[in-house]
């Protein structure tokens, strides 16, 4: 979030700096809010407090009116300012926007990974359908036992660690139930579906979701892998943490399966190596395998290919697309590259200065873009198969994130500005069942249609 921490000039109209007194006043008022929010994050809460229901059961994630603020010394940076979107099950949703538009902060909010106390989810709801272990009264997960043909528990002879049968006092062999294992040899437990409101969840409860239900692939594979542990060590950790009862041997078996899944040729060797021994593309593959190790329902890919070369990028995108169908998961893909979005996403969300300005299916956004910013963005990108002499350029810059105006943020750069634009910030207007746009140009049209 380096874009939020840039030195802010022009905090006040005529001055380039704030006085010490002003900064102290801002810090004091910030502290009041952040302390309360931090306390809320650390509280002990019963599960009922953050259980909700989804608006549409086909979705896996619903974000509604999310506000994520950064409380800085220069003022409140509204990095995400009223964002709502859905991720339907089994689909890829692409979030696109320029740097500083809040796309990464949205993903960080979903994972509750914001750097506190400055970064806080101020209000809003993030509803996530989790598919977690069913737990008994003591909070222990309930195992799935292997059954025979009659539906009764399969009993096998109990053996000690040397493989010898265990005998009871009378010399008879002891029988025990056997826990079921999945294709990767990981122990299975009974599962149930629950819907959590992540914005209200305490940090401790988040551990159940992070890396297990929602996994994240970061931009820089080198900085997000730990340089002092082997790949195997870091991969095993996921299994050992999230699948209770698994042994080190189980974890290793699962890790190697995961490395195989992402197309690494010699998984045994990579398992033993350190991150610096791998190339950029390999590291990103390892990151993806680590994300998959928790068997997640939702993968958040935050600029997964920005640090990679074009040919390696093609490999990674192919892999992600292939994996999505294989694990039946959903992907929230965050990128600034329209080409990647067009290729990968089913639904597209376009963000600008902390707000969503347009959302719809990929073909709607790319063939019938409506917001002037979306149109400009597409025309300003040179493409491989078009011949243009000059590129369309959007004049000016993104507005300062502190002191956002109350009119449309894009007004100063827009070429279709009308009188209406000098009024309030435009509401989201629905132009088709799946296509929404926030622009005054389309307010009137909808009224006529009704």
């Amino acid at each position: 979030m380096s874009e939020e921490k840039e030195p802010k000039t022009k905090a006040k109209k005529n001055r380039n700096y704030l006085t010490g007194r002003e900064i102290r006043a801002i810090v004091r008022s910030n502290n009041k809010v952040t302390r309360a929010l931090e306390k809320k994050k650390r509280r002990k809460a019963k599960e009922e407090e953050f259980l909700t229901t989804l608006k549409d059961d086909r979705n896996i994630l619903e974000v509604e009116d999310l506000h994520t603020y950064f409380f800085t010394e220069q003022g409140i940076v509204k990095a995400v300012n009223g964002v709502s979107f859905e991720v339907p099950q089994g689909s890829t949703v692409g979030v696109v926007g320029e740097s500083g538009c809040g796309k990464s902060v949205t993903s960080m909010s979903i994972m509750q990974l914001l750097q506190g106390p400055a970064g806080q989810i101020y209000s809003g709801e993030i509803r996530f359908k989790s598919y977690d272990f069913k737990r008994d009264a003591k909070g222990k997960p309930i195992p799935v036992w292997e059954k025979d043909e009659n539906g009764e528990d399969l009993l096998t002879e109990k053996k000690d660690r040397h493989g010898r049968p265990v005998l009871d006092k009378e010399g008879n062999p002891v029988f025990e139930k056997r826990q079921k294992r999945d294709a990767y040899g990981t122990l299975q437990y009974e599962m149930e579906e629950k819907v959590f409101n992540i914005a209200e969840m305490p940090i401790k409860e988040m551990h159940r979701l992070r890396g297990r239900q929602i996994a994240m692939i970061f931009q820089e594979p080198m900085t997000s892998l730990n340089p002092v542990f082997t790949i195997g060590n870091q991969l095993d950790e996921v299994t050992l943490l999230h699948f209770p009862g698994s042994t080190k041997a189980d974890a290793k078996r699962r890790s190697i399966e995961m490395l195989n899944l992402v197309g690494i040729a010699m998984p045994e060797r990579v398992y033993k190596s350190y991150p610096h021994e791998l190339s950029g593309g390999m590291r990103q593959r390892v990151m993806i395998s680590m994300a998959l190790a928790g068997d997640p329902r939702l993968i958040i890919a935050d600029e997964p290919t920005t640090a990679l070369d074009v040919t390696i990028q093609a490999q990674i995108l192919d892999l992600l697309r292939d994996l999505k169908t294989r694990i039946n998961g959903s992907i929230l893909l965050i990128t600034h590259d329209l080409g990647i979005i067009a290729e990968m996403a089913d639904f597209v969300v376009v963000m600008y200065a902390g707000r969503i300005i347009e959302k719809g299916t990929a073909s709607e956004i790319f063939h019938h873009p409506m917001h002037p910013y979306t149109i400009g963005l597409q025309r300003s990108k040179p493409t491989m198969d078009s011949e243009k002499d000059t590129l369309f350029d959007i004049p000016g810059n993104v507005p300062n994130p502190i002191d956002m105006p109350d009119y449309c943020y894009f007004r100063e750069r827009c070429s279709h500005c009308t009188k209406k634009c000098f009024g309030d910030y435009p509401e989201m207007v629905q132009v088709s069942p799946t296509h929404w746009v926030a622009c005054h140009l389309y307010d009137g049209k909808e009224e006529k249609g009704e």
Binding site: S99, S279, T311, G339, P382, F392
Partner: protein, 409 residues
Amino acid sequence: MNNSYLYVVTGGQVVAAGILVAVVALLVIAGCVLFFLIKGRKADGAKTDGAKGDDVALFDDELEARHERERREKAALKDRDLPPDEEALLEVRHLKMYFPLKKTIGGKVSLALRAVDDVSFKLKRGETLGIVGESGCGKTTMGRAILKLYQPTGGQVFFEGKDIAGYKPKEMRPLRTKMQIIFQDPYSSLPPRSTVGGILSEPVKVHKVVPKAETKDYVMKIMEQCGLRDYYYERYPHEFSGGQRQRICIARALSVKPALVVCDEPVSALDVSIQAQIINLLKQLQEELGLTYLFISHDLSVVKHISDKIGVMYLGSMVEFGDKKAIFSHPMHPYTQALFSAVPNPNPDVKMDRIVLKGDIPSPADPPKGCKFNTRCPHAMEICKHITPNYKEYEPGHFVACHCYPQED
């Protein structure tokens, strides 16, 4: 206990023992030196690790390597005395830029990183040459070696008909006004402690581009040309956004009236909408001032938009070079084909039949033998693993280095 024995030896014995120790020490030192020398020589020649004990293979490898070296030296020598092309502003012949990684005790380079390995091209006045390739393929190093920010290991660089490869820094000084560079990251390439006016007028003063009294007016004119407002003169770089800073960098490069500008990924650090502004500015300035650009970028669509000629680099070598139209309409080298097919298309309905290359780019310190692309090439043949293909002109102005095409002259 046993030490007492040492005290009862006679003088003659002491002398004998001393000589013995000295001889043994000398032998050990000589052994060490010999060992290191042999080791160094081995590493110097062809890689022989895999072929230990297999004398025939060892011989073949060395012979091949020697033939290869001789062939390339011959080619370089043949071109050496050719007069420079008069039409070309910049002509590069067999440019080599090696960075030493390991040295033997004798100071000989035993292992070198071949960042740029035998690159040749011509660039006419007023044209734009786009250099594309993956990271680590040597495109930036080549740009810097041409500007003599690095001292090239070998080859010739003709700038306006003079070979500047051997020039000393002092001799380069007057030429610096004619060749300038724009760097990738506008955040780290501007001095934070001087104002925009200071940054822009320093080169003007140093090179005495205009009389001292006119400096400010001149700088203002340049700023206006680059889309910077006049009141920016007193401001500091940190007050500007990335796009504005890149405009300052462009203004600084143009302030000495250069003929050649090396643009080293000037738009990679910028957002899409700002990228378009900078690209348009560069194009407009080229028309107004008749500049020649060497445009280095990994973004193919940007390079396609701005360039007249395109050079594709892989692991330090130019694999294909030619007119933009020729290269984009029928790329000849398999790497170029794969590179072009890998670019995502911003149209959700177009399903591209993509050539996905296997594996990663090999290390330039230990490039594969023969054609450097043979480890990832979908059309690799047996010959590709042993012999480097010739860099040959197949159509007028369209050079390719690949065994898929006839190699004989």
